[in-house]
Amino acid sequence: MSAAATAPRAPGAHRDPLVAGAAFALWALLALFVVYPLAMLLARVLTDQGHFSLAGLAAVLTDRHQIRAFWNSLLLGTLVGLVGTVLGFVFAFTAARGRLPPWMLGAMDASVLLPLVSPPFTTAIAMIFSFGPRGLITYDLLGLKGVTVYGLSSTLFSEVITYFPIAYLTLRPILAGIDSNIEGMALSLGASRWRVFRTVTLPLSIPGLANAFLLLFAASLADFATPLILAGNQFPVLPTQAFLQITGMFDLRGGAALSFVLLVPALIVFLLQRYWVSRRFYVTVTGKGAGTAPFDSVSPGVRNLLLAFCLLVALAIAYFYVLLLYASLVVALGANHALTLQHYKVIFTDGVKAIRDTLIIAGLAMPLGGLYGVLLGYLVTKKEFLGRRSMELVSMINYALPGTIVGIAYLIAFNDPPIELTGTALIIVACYIFRYGPTGIRATVALLSQIDKSLEEASQGLGAGSGTTFRRITLPLILPAFFAGLGVVFIRSMTAISATIFLVSVSWTLITVKILENITELSLGPAAAFSVLVCVIVFVVIGLIGRALRYFRAPGAASVTSMLGG
């Protein structure tokens, strides 16, 4: 009852010193690792020697090359959003309405899982292997010479393959949640299947489609790795321009200004997605499994067509990964196809420091990020304290902003005293916790809102105090959210690069940065080997977390829909 907020608090709900302490500690951390870096970024962009100045921003906004990068970013984001949403919808529709046997649904999920958990350059490398000047398809298969893989179309293709799973995961529960009786009703009124789709199914999915589009737009806008490899000189985009400005021209202020330009569309999309689209859903997604349709909503012919299409896409994805594995096992793909373990030898000697650093950082960020997510999610949903609502919003900032902005902000904020963290592992760990921990927050909030208030009251009525109630009732029920948080923080710690490329140092480096170095040095073999290694580690850890979840999760507890949600 929303009205209860203004009513006097129930007996026993006195101000808890533990809650106050935890809230204070979280605010302090958020202030330090979210608000402060962003404020420093803004200060750097908007001041000049202590005075307010728009000169830095003006320099960017009048540079024709940078303006092109801005429009290119928007164009790429729009195209990725459109194509990815359509692709995701076809997949989701086939899964929800195609009456697929369970193994086929499993295969479908597996084929979209792969791009979601891969390191960022995976599809980009495979694109070069396939369509580059000496590409398997362009050169060997088609015999084309002098083709260039770099530019809008290959960046678009690669990003769509990487990000359409987000649309699939967003749209599938929406389609599954549409009451099949509504479609059955339309059919019984004499509408054809196509008409039912056009007049009922599609209109009911529109908020979901809009949501998927915005998520993909944001993902593409923030993507740094793919355009860095594939966009080339002819198609500059903002994140790569900001990176080149800082690492190539040592112009921190210019890079900051570019990332500020990126911030505006990113914020608009975030606010649209959070406050506008998400309130327009017709279907409440309860997390319950897809109900089986009581009638054939697609004709056999269309069903086969859809299946064939999905199979084709899944095969394309599989081809990329097989190619990557193959490339890691031959001397030089496209030139010398003799099998060798040389690349793995390289990564386990020259690259062993990066592997060790990455594992240490991911190993630290995972439990801390998981705890952070559950704690903050629990506090903002269940406890009353000063600034509760704003805490949730602030905690989402680093998650919503493109990594480039967060990375540059951290670089500016923690490079000099009073808080000098550059060169330490802590700066990377903190970046991961506050950037990916919010997944755990969202999972916790979602789980807690599924848990009826009466459960805690029942415990209280039976004589349990708030401590016992939390330990025995609430905590076991939000455990799945904790594991979801662990999973996401670990996966992203292994695969992220856009923010942390600015934060690595001689003392602490990352596998993803090493992959990038390899690609720029054209040592594609070791790059492929690194990518395969990351995929393997990620899959092993996902498997372990899944097992732990099954072990800890009681049979009746609610489930988290996806470890990769958001």
Binding site: G461, L462, T468, I473, G556
Partner: protein, 369 residues
């Protein structure tokens, strides 16, 4: 379970909410209740009448803006729910989904620090009592609605609460099971002799389980009494219409005689039971009569009124008859002892409205649903 049975007293409980549109509204307004030790009291009323708020205040889940709650002589107003030793059964059962049935029922005992052996025995006993022996290792998701209801009941009574509280416990069950469960709840409460407060919006359920019923409307208790009292002697238009079905006939007080007030209605003068306070000769009133009291009699019966049959539906045990008498619609029920001649539509019949079945009330107020 020979506990020291105590009564519950609710003294002037008020609870306000700030509503977005309506502004400040009372969910409960100076509610007074006195539940005797071992008594089964039901709070009955339409949704939003304040019955659940009152129950939650008694449980300690909500804190009243004014008023006190006493368990026996003890003032428990300031105590949290976990200090009150209550058994609460929720509408949605609120079974802990991650705990087995055994652990659900054992929960309150574990909180009280009882020994394992004692707990096992108590849980076994109470599960047998509610007919769920052998369900110990199941989980709530595997149980039917009725079984979940029984677990919720077992979990509430195993701690030997001082007071047993039910919040619409049967509303998620189908009609047949609802009747069975309410009988079980009643039998169990008799056996355990626990003071019980029960909330429902279903008047039949309330009449079936309770010793006493408190009818609530708009945050206040409007009438208290046995089912018999409320049905036959409603104090207000709202109670008359909320409990059972009733014919309401407009009239005017013609005279006040020794054997009851004479009311001018239906083109004649009818003698009714007592006149409520505040009404005098000339006052506009409404006459209430239950459909089953409207007697269809032989045409030559003295004092009978002529009526036309509008419709007649045979329903097996009874026949529902819709009549028109002096321009007013009149609803009658005839119970069928054996095969009887059906009444033809349009036929003229004679009806008798017995004085002891006619209740006089002030003219309809706007509170009626």
């Amino acid at each position: 379970m020979g506990m020291d049975t105590i009564g519950v007293r609710v003294a002037g409980i008020s609870k306000r909410y700030t509503h977005r549109v309506k502004g400040e509204i009372y969910a409960a307004r100076e509610v007074e209740l006195d539940v005797k030790p071992g008594e089964f009291l039901t709070l009955l009323g339409p949704s939003g009448c304040g019955k659940t708020t009152t129950l939650r205040v008694i449980a300690g889940f909500e804190h009243p803006d004014a008023g006190r709650v006493y368990f026996g002589d003890e003032d428990v107003t300031g105590k949290a729910a976990n200090q009150r030793n209550i058994g609460f059964v929720f509408q949605n059962y609120a079974l802990f989904p991650h705990l087995s049935i055994f652990e659900n029922v054992a929960y309150g005992l574990r909180v009280r620090g009882q020994a394992g052996g004692e707990i096992a025995k108590a849980v076994g006993d109470v599960l047998a009592l509610v007919g769920l022996a052998g369900y110990e290792q199941q989980f709530s998701a595997q149980l039917s609605g009725g079984e979940q209801q029984r677990v919720a009941l077992a979990r509430a009574i195993v701690i030997r609460p001082r007071v047993l509280l039910f919040d619409e416990p049967l509303s998620n069950l189908d009609a047949k099971l609802r009747i069975q469960m309410r009988q079980e709840i009643r039998a169990l409460q008799r056996r355990l002799a626990i003071t019980t407060i029960y909330v429902t919006h279903d008047q039949e359920e309330a009449m079936a389980v309770s010793d006493r019923i408190a009818v609530m409307n708009q945050g206040s208790v409007v009438q208290e009494g046995s089912a018999l009292d409320l049905y036959h002697r409603p104090a207000t238009d709202f109670v008359a219409k909320f409990i059972g079905r009733v014919n309401s006939i407009p009239g005017r007080v013609a005279a006040i005689g020794a054997d009851g007030p004479a009311i001018a209605a239906l083109g004649t003068t009818l003698v009714a039971r007592t006149l409520p306070a505040g009404l005098a000769t000339g006052s506009a009133v409404q006459l209430m009569i239950r459909p089953e009291a409207v007697a269809i009699v032989a045409p030559d019966t003295p004092g009978a009124l002529a009526a036309t049959v509008v419709s007649s539906s045979f329903l097996g045990e009874k026949t529902e008859v819709q009549l028109r008498c002096a321009g007013e619609g009149l609803h009658a029920v005839r119970y069928n002892a054996g095969p009887a001649e059906p009444l033809a539509e349009g036929a003229t019949v004679a009806v008798c409205l017995p004085a002891n079945a006619l209740t006089v009330l002030p003219p309809a107020d706007r509170e009626a649903p």
